[in-house]
C-alpha cells in the first residue's frame, strides 16, 4: 500500500462531505450534536480509517455518509456528494439506485446483520434480485463466487444465520455488500466483538478483497492499532469533529494532535522488551452540551490559554490537524511500564499533575491497613473440568434437547500467594468458567480447587460468603456489574457491612477510604452517584472498590478492561498493579488481551478450548512462544511502529497550499 501515490491529486474524490452536521433529537431529551462541521473527501481506491473513542460520533458520521441515519437523527447541515451526485437529500427511491451503483455498508460486528429466519441463499437472492434480473441459477453461481471470495464454502448458502459463527456471519455480510459491486464500502467496527484471531482474519480478508476488487473503503474502529495497519489514511475524530487527518504511516510515527498522540500511546507491543502504556484521563464530552473552545482541553496535558478559543484546521502535507499547539514535540505521559523482570508502575512525576494517578497516593495512604501478605495462601487447581448441559429453549418453553459441552477440560495450575497470573485465550477457551469456579460461582464437574487447605469445590452454599472474604472477583462489564438503581456508595457499602461488619463512623470512614483507594476523589462526591452518572472507567473503579471491601487475599479479574475504551486501559491496569503491590493479594488476571497481561502479570497460562497449551513467566511466553496457538494469538495483534516526535517545520499555517 506504500506504493500507492497520494490520492486526491490523481482522481476526483469518490465521496466528499462538507460542513456536515448531524443532530439526534430524541423524544424527551436534549438534542445531541453528534457530528459538528465535518469536511472530508475520499479518493478513488483509498482505504481510510476513522478512529476515536466511543461516543465521538464515528458511527453517526459513517451512517450519515451512507445516508442510513434514521429518526431521531438527521443531517442538520452540510452536503454529502457521492460520485458527483449530491445525495444529502435524495429520496428513498433514487437512494436505492445509488446503493445498486456501489455504496455499500457493513455494520458493527455484523452479528445481527442477517435476517434470522432466512437462509444465506435467500439473502443473496434478495440482494442480487433487487439489483438485476437474474435467473435463480445465475444468482446461486454469483453467490458461490462471492462466498469463495470471503473464504466460505458454498454449503453456507443453505445455512440459517444462527448456524454460523460470529466470524462467518460477518464474512457473509461482507459478501452481501460485495454483491452490490461496491465502489465505496463503509465498514463500521467490522471486527468488534469477534474473537481476536477471527478479527485478524477478517481484517486480512478485507485488505485482500480491497486489493483484488479495488473498492474504496472507510473503516470505522475504536482501535487505532488495527486501523493504522490496514489503511492509507486515518481520520481521528473527537467530540463530533475530525481533529487530525493524516496518511497512516505519518500518523503512526508523528501524530500532531495531542488526542491522536494519546490514542497511539494506548497501543503497545506485548512482545517488546520494554512495554509502556499511556491513557487519556476523563471521557469525551457530552455532545448535548457542545463544549466551548477546544473540546479536548479538559483532558489535554498541553492545554493553555489559547485553547479557550476553537482551534482551526491547519494543513499538513496531504493531511490536516486542528489544534492550537501543533506542532509541538508531543511526549505523552505514560501510566504503566514493564521491562523484562519485575513490574514497574510509574511514579507521579513530570506530567503527573495531568495524569489520573490519584490512586497511587491514596493507595500509599491506605498501605499497611490490609492483611499482611504472609497470611496469604496459594490457590491450587488439580485436573479441573466443567461440563455444561446445553439447553435449547423451545418457543414456549417445556422440553429441551440436551447436549454436553466441555468448557474446561482438565486444568491444573497453582497461583502462589502474592503472585499475579494471567489467563489468556480466545473466546470460548474456558477462561471465564475457570474464573467463576475459582470464586465458587460455579462448581467443577470434576477435579479439585483448594485455597490453602480449604476445598473450594466442596463448599456448601451457606459457607460461600465466608470464602468471599478471602477471594473476590472484578467483573467484566462495568455497565452490567452495578445495579442501576443503587448509588455506588450503597453498592460498595453493602460489601463493607457484610464482609467487615462495620457500622456508624467506622463504616463511613472505610467507605470513603475505599473510594479514595480506587482513585474516586473526592469520595463523598462519588459515593452519592448512580451508576449512569459515572463514566465506564469510573464504574470499573467502583467495581474494584466493591471487591476490595472484603480485603481479599486473591483477586480474580475477568477481562476488567475489555468493555472499556483503550484510553482507559492503562489507568485501570495501573490501579490493579498498585493495589496488588500494596495489599499483597494475589491476582488472577483473565483476558484475551496479551498487552494488558504483559503489563500486570508475572506468570502466564494460555488456554485453548478448555486445555492449557502453554504456561510460564509472562515475558518469556510472549517473547518466545512455543505453542502454535500462542504464536497465532500474538500474530493477531496489529503492531504499530511508533515514535512520538514530529519533524520540525512540517506544518504550514496557510490553508489550501500544497506542501
Amino acid at each position: 500500500m506504500d506504493t500507492r501515490p497520494p490520492s486526491q491529486s490523481e482522481h476526483a474524490p469518490l465521496l466528499t462531505a462538507s460542513g456536515l452536521e448531524v443532530l439526534y433529537e430524541p423524544a424527551g431529551g436534549p438534542p445531541v450534536h453528534a457530528v459538528r462541521g465535518v469536511d472530508i473527501s475520499i479518493g478513488q481506491g483509498q482505504l481510510v480509517g476513522l478512529v476515536g473513542e466511543s461516543g465521538c460520533g464515528k458511527s453517526t458520521l459513517g451512517y450519515a455518509l451512507a445516508r442510513l441515519l434514521r429518526p431521531p437523527a438527521r443531517i442538520a447541515a452540510g452536503t454529502v456528494v457521492f460520485d458527483s451526485t449530491d445525495i444529502t437529500n435524495l429520496d428513498r427511491k433514487s437512494l436505492r439506485g445509488i446503493r445498486h451503483n456501489g455504496l455499500a455498508v457493513v455494520l458493527q460486528s455484523g452479528m445481527n446483520a442477517l435476517n434470522p429466519v432466512r437462509r444465506v441463499r435467500g439473502h443473496f437472492h434478495d440482494v442480487l434480485g433487487a439489483q438485476q434480473r437474474l435467473h435463480a441459477a445465475e444468482v446461486d453461481n454469483t453467490a458461490e463466487t462471492l462466498l469463495s471470495q470471503v473464504e466460505l464454502a458454498p454449503s453456507v448458502l443453505d445455512r440459517y444465520p444462527h448456524e454460523l459463527s460470529g466470524g462467518m456471519r460477518q464474512r457473509v455480510a461482507i459478501a452481501l455488500a460485495l454483491a452490490l459491486k461496491p465502489r465505496l464500502v463503509v465498514f463500521d467496527e467490522p471486527t468488534t466483538a469477534l474473537d481476536v484471531i477471527v478479527q485478524r482474519a477478517i481484517m486480512d480478508t478485507i485488505a485482500r478483497l480491497q486489493a483484488e476488487v479495488g473498492f474504496t473503503a472507510l473503516i470505522i474502529s475504536h482501535d487505532l492499532g488495527l486501523v493504522l495497519g490496514a489503511t492509507d489514511q486515518v481520520w481521528v475524530m473527537y467530540a463530533g469533529r475530525i481533529v487530525e487527518r493524516r496518511d497512516s504511516p505519518a500518523l503512526a510515527t508523528g501524530p500532531l494532535h495531542p488526542y491522536s498522540a494519546a490514542l497511539l500511546a494506548c497501543q503497545g507491543d506485548p512482545t517488546a522488551e520494554k512495554v509502556e502504556l499511556g491513557g487519556i484521563p476523563g471521557s469525551p464530552p457530552d455532545l448535548s452540551k457542545p463544549p466551548e473552545g477546544c473540546a479536548f482541553a479538559p483532558r489535554c496535558w498541553l492545554s493553555g490559554p489559547p485553547c479557550k478559543e476553537e482551534p482551526h484546521e491547519k494543513l499538513v502535507g496531504t493531511g490536516s490537524v486542528t489544534c492550537h499547539m501543533a506542532p509541538t514535540k508531543l511526549e505523552v505521559p505514560k501510566l504503566i511500564r514493564r521491562v523484562d523482570g519485575p513490574s514497574e508502575p510509574i511514579p507521579d512525576s513530570g506530567h503527573g499533575a495531568k495524569v489520573p494517578t490519584t490512586a497511587s497516593a491514596a493507595v500509599a495512604k491506605g498501605r499497611g491497613r490490609h492483611r499482611d501478605a504472609t497470611t496469604a495462601e496459594p490457590l491450587a487447581l488439580i485436573d479441573v473440568t466443567k461440563d455444561f448441559k446445553t439447553k435449547r429453549a423451545a418457543p414456549s418453553e417445556g422440553v429441551q434437547a440436551q447436549g454436553l459441552v466441555q468448557a474446561v477440560a482438565g486444568v491444573s495450575l497453582r497461583l502462589e500467594a502474592g503472585q499475579a497470573m494471567g489467563l489468556v485465550g480466545g473466546s470460548g477457551s474456558g477462561k471465564t468458567t475457570l474464573g467463576r469456579m475459582i470464586v465458587g460461582l460455579e462448581r467443577p464437574s470434576s477435579g479439585s480447587i483448594t485455597l490453602g487447605n480449604l476445598r473450594v469445590d466442596k463448599l456448601r452454599t451457606r459457607d460461600l460468603p465466608r470464602y468471599w472474604r478471602r477471594v473476590q472477583m472484578v467483573f467484566q462489564d462495568p455497565y452490567a456489574g452495578l445495579n442501576p438503581l443503587h448509588s455506588v456508595g450503597y453498592t460498595v457499602g453493602r460489601a463493607i457491612r457484610n464482609h467487615q461488619g462495620l457500622k456508624g463512623d467506622d463504616y463511613r470512614r472505610e467507605l470513603l477510604r475505599l473510594f479514595d483507594t480506587v482513585g474516586l476523589a473526592p469520595p463523598e462526591h462519588y459515593a452519592a452517584k448512580l451508576p449512569h452518572q459515572l463514566s465506564g472507567g469510573q464504574r470499573q473503579r467502583v467495581v474494584i472498590a466493591r471487591a476490595l471491601a472484603a480485603k481479599p487475599q486473591v483477586l480474580v479479574a475477568d477481562e476488567p478492561v475489555s468493555m472499556l475504551d483503550v484510553s482507559l486501559r492503562a489507568e485501570i491496569l495501573h490501579l490493579l498493579g498498585e493495589l496488588r503491590k500494596n495489599t499483597g493479594a494475589s491476582l488472577l488476571y483473565i483476558t484475551h488481551d496479551l498487552l494488558s497481561a504483559r503489563l500486570v502479570t508475572d506468570q502466564l497460562v494460555v488456554l485453548r478450548q478448555g486445555h492449557i497449551v502453554e504456561s510460564g513467566p509472562t515475558s518469556s511466553v510472549l517473547r518466545s512462544p512455543s505453542h502454535p496457538y500462542t504464536v497465532e494469538l500474538i500474530a493477531a495483534i496489529p503492531t504499530v511502529q511508533q515514535s512520538q516526535t514530529v519533524p520540525a517545520g512540517a506544518i504550514t499555517e496557510r490553508p489550501g497550499e500544497p506542501v
Binding site: L68, R99, V105, P116, V117, R118, Y160, L176, P395, S396
Partner: protein
C-alpha cells in the same frame, strides 16, 4: 419431525393436568354437586343405577378412596361417558356436546384465524407508516375497540343490525324453516345467522392483534438486519414484509396461542347473546339450570380443545422459526 416429538410430552402432561383439574374441581368445591345433580335428575324421571353411577364418577361420590375415584373417572373419560344431562334429559352429555361442538368450531375457529390475519396485516401497515394518520387512527381505534366487552358489542350489533335495521336474524344458528343437513338452504340460513356473531368476534378481537403486531414491528424495525437490508438496496416492500413483518410475526404467533383462551371466553359470551347453538350457549344453559354433569364435561371439552389448538400453534411456530427446529 423431531420438533413434534419434542413438543408431544408437554402436550400430554398438560392434557393430563387439565383432566385432573376437571376431576378435582367438583370434589374440592363446597357442597356435593353429585348429590345435587342426582336429586335434580330424580325430579325429571327415574334415574337408573348406571346413570347415577356415571354422574358420581364424574362429580364425586361420598364413598371410595380418591385414588379409586380417579381411576374410575379416567376410565369414564376415555370411554366418552360423561353422564346424563339434566337440561336435555334423557340425552347423555356426550351427545349434547357433540351436537353443539361443530357450530362453535366453525364459527369461532374461522373468525379467530381471520381476526389474527387481518389484525396482523393492519398492524404491519400501521408500523410501516408509523406516525401517519392511519397509524394514529388504528392505534387509538384499536385500543378502544379492544376494551369493549364481547357481549356488549354483541348486544349493540344485535340491536342496530338485527332489531332496528332488520338485516340479519337476531337469534339462533339457523331459521326454524330449515332442518340441519348438508343442503344449500340450510347452509345459507346458517351463514346468515352467523354473520353478526362472527362480526362481533372479529371486531372485538381485531384490536389486540393490530396493536400487538404494531409493537412487534416497531421493535424489529430497529434491528441491525433491517438497516443492513436497506443498505443493500432491497425494495421497501421486501424489507417491510420479508425482513420486518416475517420476524415480527413470531412473537405474534406465541401471543396467539396464549390469547386463545381469552378469545374462546369472549366467543362464549357472544354465543349467549345471539342464542347461537354452540358450546358457549350450552355452557350458559348448563350453569343457569345447575346442570353440573353437562357443565363439567363442557369445561373439559373447551379446555382440551384450547390445549390442542395451542399445540397446533406451537407446531406452526416451529415451522416459522428455524432456531427452535432441529
Amino acid at each position: 419431525m423431531r420438533y413434534v416429538l419434542r413438543r408431544l410430552p408437554v402436550l400430554v402432561i398438560t392434557l393430563w393436568a387439565a383432566v385432573t383439574l376437571n376431576f378435582l374441581l367438583p370434589r374440592l368445591m363446597p357442597g356435593t354437586p353429585a348429590g345435587a345433580a342426582v336429586a335434580k335428575l330424580a325430579g325429571q324421571g327415574s334415574v337408573s343405577a348406571s346413570q347415577r353411577r356415571a354422574i358420581e364418577v364424574m362429580l364425586g361420590v361420598p364413598h371410595g378412596s380418591l385414588a379409586s375415584q380417579y381411576w374410575q373417572y379416567l376410565k369414564a373419560i376415555a370411554g366418552g361417558n360423561f353422564g346424563i344431562s339434566y337440561t336435555y334429559f334423557p340425552e347423555p352429555v356426550s351427545k349434547v356436546i357433540g351436537a353443539a361442538l361443530p357450530w362453535t368450531l366453525a364459527l369461532v375457529g374461522t373468525v379467530t384465524v381471520m381476526a389474527f390475519v387481518i389484525g396482523t396485516l393492519l398492524g404491519v401497515l400501521a408500523a410501516w407508516k408509523r406516525g401517519s394518520i392511519f397509524d394514529t387512527a388504528a392505534s387509538v381505534g384499536c385500543t378502544f375497540m379492544a376494551a369493549f366487552p364481547y357481549f356488549w358489542t354483541a348486544l349493540v350489533l344485535l340491536y342496530v343490525f338485527g332489531f332496528v335495521a332488520g338485516w340479519f336474524p337476531i337469534r339462533g344458528g339457523y331459521s326454524a324453516s330449515v332442518s340441519p343437513g348438508w343442503d344449500w338452504s340450510f347452509f345459507v340460513s346458517a351463514l346468515g345467522h352467523s354473520v353478526l356473531p362472527a362480526f362481533t368476534i372479529l371486531v372485538s378481537g381485531l384490536g389486540g392483534w393490530v396493536l400487538g403486531m404494531r409493537n412487534n414491528m416497531m421493535g424489529v424495525l430497529g434491528e441491525d438486519y433491517i438497516v443492513f437490508a436497506e443498505a443493500n438496496g432491497l425494495s421497501p416492500r421486501t424489507v417491510a414484509l420479508r425482513y420486518a413483518a416475517r420476524n415480527a410475526l413470531l412473537p405474534g404467533v406465541t401471543a396467539f396461542g396464549m390469547a386463545l383462551g381469552l378469545v374462546v371466553g369472549g366467543s362464549l359470551l357472544t354465543e349467549v347473546v345471539f342464542g347461537y347453538p354452540g358450546i358457549g350457549y350450552l355452557l350458559y344453559n348448563a350453569v343457569v339450570n345447575e346442570d353440573y354433569p353437562l357443565m363439567q364435561a363442557l369445561f373439559l371439552v373447551i379446555t382440551v380443545s384450547v390445549l390442542m389448538a395451542n399445540f397446533v400453534v406451537d407446531l406452526i411456530y416451529g415451522l416459522l422459526d428455524p432456531r427452535v427446529r432441529r
